[in-house]
């Protein structure tokens, strides 16, 4: 069972203790760097930065792997599409399709981008308590003129928090369901179509039911969506700012 999927794993490292806003901004910087890096060498730098951060935060490899593993198929599809659909010097050919050197390079690059995006995201969720994440997002959004669009930064932050909250929850119901169907003799490898059908129907149902339950629970506790305060107000400190600055400069210089 994979219960670590994008879950918060409490700890006491420097990364854990950083202001959530710094980490979210860092995540944005990392995403931008990942998408503008266009060579394998730049990717290697991103990888290096990631592993350093993961090391500092003393997050176990399992946590990162559990975020990546379910997505491997998706990454594989991206890779194969790039490999065969890019024009260039032929590498080999398969059932009338030509794989190219350029496709190989691009495929590796694209799948690496998604891989590192996932890995940075799981580092963020693993080191940041969900409630702090919400407060962080909310505070970062507050200066924006969202009111004119008819929503408050609180609403938006709460929506994001709920989405974050639902990821491990839905993954939990998914593993529970998979166990149940496998116990009824489902062989996922031999019968992928049956697997998708017998898992997706109850999964969608469960998702809707639990979303409704959360909505009812929030309403019955008088959730209004405006001016909520939080138990742990993050206070930006000098070292938080310094960390962000250093991280930003490092990423841009290297990539």
């Amino acid at each position: 069972m994979n219960t670590l999927f994008f879950r918060y794993v409490p700890g006491n490292s420097i990364v854990h203790r950083l202001d959530p806003r710094v980490k979210i901004a860092g995540m944005l910087i990392a995403s931008i760097s990942i998408f503008i890096s266009s060579s394998l060498r730049e990717m290697a730098v991103v990888a290096l930065v990631f592993f350093l951060l993961a090391l500092i935060s003393s997050i176990s490899v399992r946590v990162i792997l559990s975020a990546v593993r379910p997505m491997l198929m998706f990454l594989g599809i991206i890779f194969i599409l790039q490999l065969f659909l890019t024009e260039g010097n032929p590498l080999f050919s398969l059932v009338g399709l030509d794989a190219t050197y350029e496709g190989l390079a691009l495929g590796v690059l694209m799948s690496m981008r998604f891989l590192f995006l996932l890995m940075f995201a799981s580092l963020l969720t693993a080191t940041t308590a969900p409630s702090l994440m919400t407060t962080g997002i909310e505070k970062m959004l507050r200066p924006l003129p969202l009111k004119r669009l008819g929503i408050s930064s609180f609403d938006l932050a709460t929506m994001m928090f709920l989405s974050l909250h639902f990821v491990p929850l839905l993954y939990g119901s998914f593993s529970h369901l998979r166990d149940a169907q496998v116990s009824r003799g489902l062989d996922m490898a031999r019968n992928p179509f049956k697997a998708v059908y017998s898992l997706s129907v109850p999964m969608v149902r469960t998702a809707f039911i639990s979303a409704e339950e959360v909505a009812v629970a929030m309403e019955s506790r008088c959730y209004q969506g405006v001016n909520r305060s939080s138990l742990n107000e993050p206070v930006m400190q000098k070292n938080d700012l310094a960390a962000l600055l250093v991280f930003g400069i490092v990423m841009f210089l290297l990539v």
Binding site: L4, G11, H176, A180, R184, G185, L186
Partner: protein, 276 residues
């Protein structure tokens, strides 16, 4: 023929700060044909234990074997059926029949034999023919639960494990389910029921295991259980113990109403006789 658990230790989220030992050096064995209860508080490791019976979890240390095969071997799934908590979530078929047929089909049953097994499982749980072609999502909560249970019973496996099958069922459906399980058991199927409130099931069980914080703290017959277990006693046993304390000469190891009734009438009759 048995499920054998030897020195099983299991931890979730190994190697992270969330690491948690959920089973510690548990050893037990369940024979073919037994009716077994596994009890313990919520969080004591019951569900974790039964996930090892058909190999969904692999032991961190120790072994689990089923009829001599390692539990994670594929063939074991065709011997041990597990029904998890909230089984109504696993329904997906277009009709009740299709959903219940999912298991037996996966195990290779076809045609008449398949029909027969699906029908008899549904019938056993008191579900009438009129719902066979209805969508399972149009049923009531209790009926959905029974359909899900039928989905596990219909495969006719040697061992059936049910995780908290009674919680949330009304009295009527509880009765139906219990008699279905007893019927299967009388025909040689091992029935293993997990429950955090097992006191009202003691009278149907051959053997009882009690978990406490991942440790197996008791294994024995229901009679031994009510004699030795410190907690989780049936109300009727508490009553008999209380009567004893008050000076009535009744047995303290009684756990079903009929025995209690005859014991109390025996004591009252002798009292009467003495008075006369």
């Amino acid at each position: 023929m048995s499920i054998d658990v030897r020195n099983l230790t299991f931890r979730y989220d190994r190697g992270t700060s969330l690491e948690k030992t959920s089973l510690e050096d548990v050893s037990l064995s369940i024979d073919k044909g037994e009716f077994v209860l596994i009890g313990g508080e919520i969080g004591s490791g019951k569900s974790t234990l039964v996930r090892h019976f058909n190999g969904l979890l692999k032991p961190f240390s120790g072994q689990v074997t089923v009829d001599g095969m390692a539990a994670h071997e594929k063939k074991v799934k065709a011997r041990v059926g597990v029904l998890f908590q909230f089984p109504q979530q696993q329904l997906f078929g277009r009709t009740v029949f299709e959903d219940v047929a999912f298991g037996p089909r996966n195990f290779g049953y076809r045609g008449n034999e398949l029909d027969l097994q699906v029908h008899s499982a549904l019938e056993l749980l008191g579900l009438g023919k009129e719902i066979y072609s209805v969508s399972p999502f149009r049923l009531s909560g209790g009926q959905m639960r029974l359909v899900a249970i039928a989905g596990v019973l219909a495969s006719r496996l040697d061992y059936i494990v049910l995780d908290e099958p009674f919680s949330g069922l009304d009295a009527e459906n509880k009765k139906i389910l219990l008699s279905a399980l007893r019927h299967l058991n009388s025909r040689g199927t091992s029935v293993i029921v997990v429950s955090h409130r097992m006191s009202d099931l003691l009278s149907v069980a051959d053997r009882v295991f009690l978990l406490d914080q991942g440790n197996l703290v008791f294994g024995g017959t229901p009679a031994e259980y009510v004699k030795h277990a410190p907690s989780h006693l049936p109300e009727i046993t508490c009553l008999m113990k209380e009567l004893r304390r008050k000076g009535f000469d009744v047995r303290g190891d009684i756990f079903n109403i009929d025995d209690a009734f005859s014991e109390i009438s025996r004591v009252l009759n002798t009292k009467e006789a003495v008075r006369r």
